[in-house]
Structure formats: structure tokens, C-alpha cells
Symmetry: C2
Subunit: 320 residues, 2 copies
């Protein structure tokens, strides 16, 4: 059999042994959804739970890609392997294609210790919120210890995806106020760390005070983690080491406090609910077609059956 005809199981074994093409293929299948994605999820699941995810989010233009690239450089300097998942809900492009901003990541494109992947919507936004955690889970299952998840934008979907990481970094700029006004509350809620990127520009202190003021308002418990605020200049690398130290400190804190496990369990619970919800929706869609459905509708139009009775008859077909 040719390389492109390997089964999910063969691809999974190969990816675990370091075959990047197999991993890329698996990610494409996961992104596409359906039966093969389900199979891959099942193959990977028993192996997962060891990788650590760091989410990075912020307004377009905040310099997330440059920061991600700098973090990758930082990790590679100590020999640490890393995977990057760059998610852009607004882009129609996906897969191996290097997105606009991703160009900067090409510094690391030939480094075998770095795996970079872009994901976009393929037209269905809802799909991404399921496909992204699947992709993360796969990277975890094949043994990647650090997984950086970068989302472009500060809308609800982006914040939701970034908020599903173990440590979430919110990237702002000295003039951040206007660019994220719409979703400041959402960003405050998910942030474990704030990075003021492009900190060589003026306005860093105002931005710090602004963030600290909002942290005051959020009324953190005494023993809670207090999100530090780190000035960084990604283009020169200034502050990147300190920023990464803060990520490590946050990781140590939530591992010690039990918060990491609580977060992961909460995420899994939410995801389970989502999977159940999708399955039910799918069944409802499957039922709401065909001759029987048309017939029930005709009875409703003719008023010989009411809508609730029709729904009940429909749902008799949803048996397990």
C-alpha cells in the first residue's frame, strides 16, 4: 500500500515514531471530522494526558505569531520539542498552507523538533471548536510535551478555544484599549498571564495600570493565582525568557494546587456535553428528512396532528 493509503492505525503508529507526514495526514483527517476522526480520537485517547498546552490569544496585529516564534526559539535553545497549532477562524485556508503571519514561523520550518500546523474554518465555525481540541489531543497522544495553541482574534470562538489551554496567555499592545474593547471581559476571564507585546512603544505603564485595575475589580481569592503582566518585545526577544518563566511558574502553581486537574476535568465534561449535543442534533437532522417526516408534516399542516404529537412520533426513531 502507498503512503497515502495507510490506515488511521498505521498512521498513528508512524506519527508516534516521529513520522511528520503521517501526523499531518492524521490532523487533516481529524479536521475533516466523521468516522475516521472518531477512530483516530479513540486510538489516541489512552495515550494522552501528558502534554501541556499553552494558549495564546489577542487582537489581530498584536504580534502573536512573532511571540510564538520567539517562544519556540526559547524552547529549542534548551532542546525542548514543541508543536504549534495556529488557529484562524476567519481564514478560509487550512492544512499545510502557511498563513500570512505564519511566514515568520518559517524560521523553525526545517527544525525537526518543531511541528507547525494551521487550522482554519473550512466554512463551518462550529466545527473548529470541536476540531481544535481534537487536534490538540492528537498532538498530546503522539507524545508532544509542549503544545502552543495560537488563535487569531478576540471573538467568542477564539477566546473559547484559547481558554481551553492549561495556561492561557493574553497578548495585548501598549494601545490595546480600542482593539479589544468588545471582549475585554472575556479576555480577563481566561488570562493566566498578560503579555504587553511591542513594549518598546509608549503607553506600557498605562496599559499595565489598566490591566491591574481590571484585576482588582475581578476580586481574586487570596490563594488564587494572580495573572502577572509581562512586557515583551518579540521582535528582539526582550522579555521572552521572563515571560516563559512565568508560564512555568503558572504551571507549577496549578499542578500543586490541583487546579490543573480540575480544569482538565471541567474541560472534558464540557466537551462530553458538546459531543452528546452534536450527536443528538445529528440524529434530529437525520430524522427531519424522508417520507415519514414529510407525512408527519402534512398531518400537521392539515391539523389532524399537532406539532408536539409530531415531535413525539419523530423522536420514537431516536432510539439508542
Amino acid at each position: 500500500m502507498g503512503r497515502n493509503h495507510r490506515s488511521p492505525e498505521e498512521l498513528f503508529s508512524a506519527a508516534r515514531a516521529g513520522d511528520r507526514a503521517a501526523l499531518a495526514r492524521l490532523l487533516s483527517l481529524v479536521e475533516r471530522g466523521g468516522a475516521e476522526a472518531r477512530e483516530i480520537g479513540g486510538l489516541g485517547y489512552p495515550h494522552g494526558g501528558h502534554g501541556y498546552t499553552v494558549g495564546l490569544t489577542g487582537a489581530p496585529g498584536a504580534g502573536k505569531s512573532t511571540l510564538t516564534s520567539a517562544i519556540v526559539g526559547q524552547l529549542r535553545a534548551t532542546g525542548t520539542e514543541v508543536a504549534v497549532l495556529a488557529i484562524d477562524p476567519s481564514s478560509p485556508f487550512t492544512g499545510g498552507a502557511i498563513l500570512g503571519d505564519r511566514v515568520r514561523m518559517q524560521d523553525h520550518a526545517t527544525d525537526p523538533g518543531v511541528f507547525i500546523r494551521s487550522m482554519a474554518t473550512r466554512g463551518h465555525l462550529g466545527g473548529l471548536s470541536l476540531a481544535a481540541p481534537e487536534a490538540v489531543r492528537l498532538l498530546d497522544a503522539i507524545g508532544r510535551e509542549w503544545i502552543l495553541v495560537e488563535t487569531v482574534g478576540v471573538g467568542q470562538v477564539e477566546v473559547e478555544i484559547a481558554g481551553k489551554a492549561d495556561t492561557t496567555v493574553v497578548v495585548v499592545n501598549p494601545d490595546w484599549g480600542d482593539s479589544v474593547q468588545a471582549n475585554k471581559a472575556g479576555l480577563m476571564e481566561i488570562a493566566d498571564l498578560f503579555v504587553i507585546n511591542k513594549a518598546d512603544r509608549k503607553g506600557v505603564e498605562e496599559t499595565r495600570r489598566d490591566l491591574e485595575g481590571m484585576l482588582e475589580l475581578s476580586d481574586l481569592a487570596d490563594d488564587a493565582w494572580r495573572p502577572p503582566i509581562l512586557p515583551v518585545v518579540s521582535t528582539t526577544g526582550d522579555g521572552v525568557a521572563a515571560m516563559w518563566d512565568a508560564v512555568l511558574a503558572h504551571r507549577a502553581f496549578i499542578e500543586r494546587s490541583g487546579e490543573l486537574q480540575r480544569r482538565r476535568q471541567f474541560r472534558l465534561r464540557e466537551e462530553l456535553r458538546e459531543i452528546v449535543g452534536r450527536r443528538l442534533e445529528q440524529r434530529a437532522r437525520e430524522l427531519a428528512t424522508g417520507e415519514r417526516w414529510e407525512q408527519l408534516q402534512r398531518h400537521v399542516f392539515e391539523r389532524t396532528l399537532d406539532p408536539w404529537g409530531a415531535a413525539d412520533e419523530m423522536l420514537e426513531g431516536v432510539g439508542g
Copy 2:
């Protein structure tokens, strides 16, 4: 048995015979949802299909209540009976309570040929989008020939509810641009008629040109209904008769063309899907509790079961 202990069936018979207190009680039960609402829906459904609904929507302050009151006056002058359902998703008040703007409707409060009812959210916005059509259906089933549905606001829920009428009137003012900017497209889509209310103010011609320009863009078919634009001064009654003639003309047009039946069938189909969806959601919620669910989750946390497998096991309980 006292008046307040009548069964839904007794209440329904009484309401059909003209008992307003019985009708008010039925509407409260419908609004509350649950088994009694379901029973009332079933009682009414075979009797429905004869009433005609006119939806009125527009930004807060556009003068919808005054217009509605003027229309009621117009109808009562010819002896026509009418029911008014005033829906305010942003208000916490509901039922018999006369809302702020409703005060103007008190002109008709003692007229037995007029039935006025306010509905608000009771905290769950989604509930209203199911309860409102139920209430309309009940008013139809007890024999009301004209049902005016007034929604306050131009958000998605309001536009959706108003758009479910047989004829939808969008109420704007000469300075409408800013107040509804956010949802102009949604309003254009549902409008069968535009009323420029407060037409004694300046800017009427600009508003008319603005609306006509948008109608040009919407690329109507040659044989389609073209929404007329009616200037009205609700406070004096100027233009109300002409506006109501336009409603009658629209009704005649969609009855003749078959569009009325298509609309009603489309609405019923959508509603059926919504009922099926809600039932499934409810089942999912019922399933996502209890010892079995906790146990499945523990298996997922311990990675002896993957999330899809857990979902499958859960869904075995969703039998018909």
C-alpha cells in the same frame, strides 16, 4: 370547583365562548410552558388556522404602541374584533401588567372587542421564541380573526418573532438610520410594509429614498410583493387608514399567490424542528446527570473510555 381550578379543557371551552379571564389564565399557562401548555396546544390546534397575524416591530421609541392603538381604533370603528400581543424581551414584567408604553393602549382596555396581553421573558429569552407562537396559536384557536403582535426592539429575537407573522410591518422614524443600524438587513428581510411613523417630523423623504434604495438592492422578482412605504402620524391618526389598506392589500396578494400558505407551512416546519431540537436537548440534560453519567465521566478522566464512547453509552438512554 372555583374559577381558578378549572382544567385546561374547561378554560379552553370558556375562552372560546368569550370568557376573557379564562383566556388570560390559558395564556399564563402557555407562557409557563410544561405539560399544561402542551395540553392547551393540543386542544387548540385542530381549531386554528383562521386568524390572521400582523407583526409590528421597530426600535424602542419608534411609536409602535401608539400605532398599534391607532390600528385597533381603526378596526373597532368597523366593528372588527382584535387581539394584541405585546412582546418585550427586555422587560422582566409579564401577564396582566400593563407595561410602560402599553399605557396608551388603555384607550381600549374596557372594550370587550379588544383583548390585550403583554408577554416578557421571565428570565429565559429562548422560552419567549417558543411561547410567543404558542400564544398566537391560542388566540387563533379561540377564534380571534385579527392578531396584532407587537415586539419592542430590533434585535434578533424581536425580528424573528415579528417575522413569523402573516404580514410584517416595520416601523421606522424619519431619523431611523442610527437607531436600527445594527440590524437593518434583518428588518429589510422581514418587512412586508414600512411605516414611517412620526411623519410630521422632517426627514420623511430622505427616509423614503433610503428605504427605496435598499429595496432596489434586495433585487425583488418581477411578480414579488414590493413593500410599500407609508407615512403615518399615529398620534393624530393621519395615514393609519391608508396603512391598514396596505395590510389588507398584502393579505389579498399573498392569499392569491399561494405565498400565505407557503409561509405558514415554512413556519410550522421550522417550529417542528425547534420542538424536536428542544426535546432532544432536554433529554441530553436529563441524561447528563446522575450516577451513571458521573461514572462514565470518571472512566473518561481515567482514560479507560474515550469521550465518543462515553457519548455513545449516554445516548443509549435516549430511546423513544
